[in-house]
């Protein structure tokens, strides 16, 4: 039985306030609980794979965010936890993101390959 494929498309929405991405956080937690998960980054979320991104130290009216989001590192932690990582090649190209700029361990797929991932997955969760 295939893994649960989590399609993550919405990006950088609430990440500054949460200090992480809500979908990725939940996938990590479910994986740690014994689930078998994969993540497909598509659309704006392919930017999560860009290595070295940082919002620095966000501070509003003297109140500092103590642990700003590091989405690239969160993806690496997901991979280390056994989560397969996929990203849509064309979506990255449209945004000028090269593979060299991305973290290691991403399996790049074309849009035409996405249906195959759906078929192979035990379930598909769209976030």
């Amino acid at each position: 039985m295939g893994k649960i494929l989590n399609v993550v498309e919405r990006a950088y929405q609430g990440t500054l306030e949460e200090q992480d991405d809500q979908a990725l956080w939940l996938v990590h937690t479910l994986q740690k609980a014994g689930g078998e998960h994969a993540v497909l980054l598509r659309g704006p979320a392919v930017s999560y794979a860009v290595r070295g991104q940082s919002v620095g130290s966000l501070e509003i009216a003297g109140v500092k965010a103590g642990n700003p989001p590091r989405l690239d590192q969160d993806l690496e932690k997901l991979r280390a936890a056994g989560v397969d990582l996929y990203a849509v090649r064309e979506d990255a190209a449209e945004r000028g993101i090269s593979r060299e700029e991305a973290i290691a361990g991403i399996q790049w797929v074309s849009r035409s390959e996405v249906p195959r991932l759906f078929v192979e997955a035990s379930r598909v969760f769209a976030w």
Binding site: G14, E17, D20, W25, H28, T29, L58, G66, N67, K77
Partner: protein, 138 residues
């Protein structure tokens, strides 16, 4: 003497969902520091931004404690903005109004800052502001 400038922000987004709230907070801070008065009409989900029962938490995925995570809830940022917007030392004044009906719907009665109001306050803000920026939910 130059007329004192003011801006009104109408917010609709709830906390922890989008980047718009953070941007609005930053705009408000920048305006206050420039001596511009800021009025905020928090409407619908935005009334939860200042809900006083919000609590910072540890992050089991990152392996951080509450202290290490240093997670400022939106209520803390709102309270800091209210404190900053005291009109002192050349700063602007912040008047943050929560839509009362929206508060009632959500039961977020305890607030870290701001005051209870209604669309009538928004109307008054519009009348007296130099400009108005609506940041709606998408």
């Amino acid at each position: 003497m130059a007329e004192r400038k003011s801006i009104t922000l109408a917010l609709m987004d709830p906390p922890y969902e989008t980047a718009r709230v953070t941007t609005a907070f930053r705009l408000a801070e920048a305006a206050l520091r420039k001596g511009i008065d800021v009025n905020v009409f928090a409407y619908e989900g935005a009334v939860a931004l200042g809900f006083a029962q919000q609590k910072p938490h540890a992050n089991s995925v990152k392996g951080t404690t509450v202290e290490e995570e240093g997670h400022p809830n939106t209520r803390a940022w709102l309270a800091a903005l209210v404190k900053l917007g005291d009109g002192q030392e050349g700063r602007g004044r912040l008047d943050w109004v929560n839509c009362g009906l929206c508060v009632d719907e959500r039961g977020v009665f305890e607030q870290a800052g701001g005051r209870r109001g209604s669309p009538a306050d928004f109307h008054a803000f519009i009348q007296r502001s130099t400009n108005v920026l609506t940041i709606g939910t998408r």
